[in-house]
Amino acid sequence: MATTESPAAATSVLFVGVGGIGCELAAQCTASRSARRLLDFDAAALDAYDPAETIGLAGAAASTDDMDPDDMRAAAEAAADQVAATVGGGTELALLLGAVGGQTGAVVLPILANDLKSARSTVLVVALEPLPFEGAARAELAAQAMAELENVADLIISVPNRPLAELCDASLPVGEAIRELRARTLQAVDQLVGALTCGSSVGFQPSELRRSLAEAGRGALGVGVGTEGARVEAAIRDACANSFLTQESCQQASAAILHLRGGTDVSLQEVRSATDLVAQLVGRVPIQVGLSTDADDAETVRATLLVTGIRPPIAAMLCEGASVGVAQDQGLSFYDGVDLDVPAYLRRRPSPRLRH
């Protein structure tokens, strides 16, 4: 466990919300941060936020669906320059938040991630995938954006596109379920930003954290809160029960980062049991543990579990093969059910059908 007590050890984080949902969630995020920027084509929507933090994307038409993709890219590049200019290029960690099922997120996020990566920042993207009922077109758009992001971002944490009933209580009305989903996403992002920026207490060494997040591939995030009794264990179980973090993602991960935030009374034994619990979940992969303490947070422990380096299950690629018209016969070119003779770049592109 890394321990950092100096306030100077805090990692400098740039937090960028992109598109309608991205801006809304980023604006509500209460965790401490170094800088925040909100980007959207919709100038009217940006008026609701602090003007110092907003960057309007130029060339807006009546709807982003009517815009020429080249114009959108040009606007995104101009906005990326503006973001880089405002932060002065001194950002160690950039956290981008947006929905990849929409035009804004799908176009702007990869360009922004590419630019910030070029400026030597470690780029994390929290990508909200479209829900199944939003249709195949959005799923396809999201799949393309995720494929582009995989090439440029260090870590992509996806908020998955499973049916709403799986993500929330099935008895809730649809509108309320969506609101709850957003609230939980906000809580997850809030806690993640808190974990990344906790420089004023016991926490990660920024350099170590940056190394762990660099080139980490795909990730999944779970957050939980424990209050009484075995509170740390309860917080971890809550984080795992979080539907953003599935058992499969834990099993396919190649590293895990666990951050605990609680009062000054969190014992070493509690931290150890939390680490053991996470080790049971993720198996034999390196686990980085950090703890930040806050006197105001007595009796409550908040756990943020981030699993990284998730490799797509090879069996799932079989379906990718099916989508490009490959025979399913098992032969010498097959490995674990995957036809290796089909070009890898075609199989790696996620099929929208798989995601419903």
């Binding site: 890219r73 040009a74 590049e77 990869p110 360009i111 590419n114 630019d115 990566k117 070029s118 582009e148 090439n151 440029v152 080139e215 034999r284 490799r311 090879i314 010498l332 070119s333 097959f334 490995y335 674990d336 290796l340 003779d341 070009p343 890898a344 770049y345 790696r348």
Partner: protein, 411 residues
């Protein structure tokens, strides 16, 4: 021309894309000197398996004749390397009791323990390709290289047995016969290469040997000085070329040329204001060539390269021995000729990577042994150890009986 058959060794690597042959003089001090080398385009082989007997035999004949001409020898017997995706390595153990009054293990005990370890039941279509010793244990004391003279009650022999398709081996032997030569022995190429390229320290501390050929990739893991795991995957460099041919809509030879020229390039899409490096790509339909951004080539190539190393990683995880300290990877095969191969391997496998090659004394002026020759030269070295085994008296006890046995072996 008029030299004895057992004075030289002829090794043949019947690869999917290239057939290579090396002829070496075996000196009495145990050293080998390379005197002839030949290579030819392989016909009739796919994923390490013969699919056209006539084509394969023709490739064998042309290659051996080219090497024989250079070495100025007449070839009779040939050692062939085989490594098909059907090959499986398994660790076996044989145990016997040391029943002598003094409880001291004899040479015969070692042989009996090895024979017990080699006794594995196989399906009718499989055969034992190679057996590598993993040392002995006497009463749970492990890591004993030679148990003769050590006291104990129980002697265990540990071996790594490689089994492969019976037909695949028979087809290679038949191709050699059809080409006009006699098969001396068929060895398991991946482990022969690993034995030759890994330093003894690397074998002891734990290392992974990865040989990426045209259509197969072999993985061999060493720990404690012995092979622990071996596997052949049905994917290789030719898949990268094929992906480029499909993705860029260009003929396969042009795709191969692009891969040679560009290597494993960055797949990051440049920004609009950045200059975009391009590469000229001929069209498959014969129309005028077009310019394609280099990042697009990188995107296609990296996807396949990452997949190959992901599969290697998966095999390391499956083996259960990688975690024991196989921290170094030694890479051989045609893949090493691609620009950026080592960096890509280091980044994906997250281990220290070096290219492996076999040091061999040579009288050939225009032949530089490289990573692509590891299987061929490893086969030569394996051939030497097989021949030396005829005169191996490591497990022999002294006395008149042993002397008679030795004399009998010479006869």
């Amino acid at each position: 021309m008029a030299r004895r058959d057992d004075e030289y060794l002829v090794a043949l690597d019947l690869g999917t894309r290239t057939t290579r042959c090396a002829i070496a003089c075996w000196r009495r001090d145990g050293e080998i000197v390379l005197e002839g080398y030949g290579e030819a385009r392989t016909l009739g082989v796919s994923k390490g398996l013969i699919v056209d007997a006539g084509g394969a035999a023709e490739s064998v004949r042309r290659t051996i004749e080219a090497a024989a001409e250079r070495a100025r020898v007449r070839v009779y017997t040939v050692l062939a390397a085989v490594g098909t995706p059907f090959a499986r390595g398994l660790n076996s153990r044989g145990c016997i009791g040391i029943v002598h009054d003094d409880k001291i293990a004899r040479g015969n005990d070692a042989r009996r323990a090895l024979a017990a370890a080699n006794r594995i039941s196989l399906p009718a279509d499989r055969a034992v390709a190679e057996v590598y010793s993993q040392g002995f244990a006497v009463d749970d004391v492990r890591g004993i290289h030679n148990p003769v003279g050590i006291a104990g009650g129980r002697l265990e022999a540990e071996v790594h047995v490689v089994t492969d398709s019976l037909c695949a081996h028979a087809n290679v032997e038949q191709a050699i016969r059809q080409a006009g030569f006699r098969p001396e022995r068929v060895v398991f190429g991946p482990l022969a290469a690993a034995e030759a390229v890994l330093a003894s320290e690397e074998k002891r501390l734990g290392s992974v040997h990865v040989d990426i050929g045209a259509e197969t990739t072999s993985v061999a893991i060493y720990a404690g000085g012995y092979p622990r795991f071996s596997r052949v995957l049905p994917v290789g460099c030719q898949h990268i070329t094929n992906d480029l041919a499909i993705g860029l809509n260009t003929p396969v030879p042009s795709a191969a040329a692009i891969l040679r020229e560009c290597g494993i390039v960055d797949s990051r899409r440049p920004r609009r204001k950045e200059s975009v490096a391009t590469v000229q790509v001929p069209r498959a339909d014969g129309e005028a060539a077009r310019l394609v951004p280099l990042w697009r080539v990188g995107f296609i190539v990296r996807a396949r390269v990452e997949e190959i190393f992901d599969l290697v990683s998966k095999e390391l995880d499956r083996s259960g021995v990688a975690a024991a300290g196989a921290a170094r990877v030694v890479l051989t095969g045609g893949f090493c000729q691609i620009k950026g191969a080592r960096d890509a391997a280091e980044r994906i496998l997250r281990r220290a990577v070096r290219f492996g090659s076999v040091d061999v004394e040579s009288t050939l002026s225009q032949f530089e042994p490289g990573p692509a020759h590891a299987v061929l030269l490893g086969t030569l070295a394996r051939g030497v150890s097989h021949r030396e085994r005829r005169y191996d008296h490591r497990f022999d006890e002294g006395g008149w009986r042993a002397m008679f046995k030795r004399v009998a072996s010479w006869l």
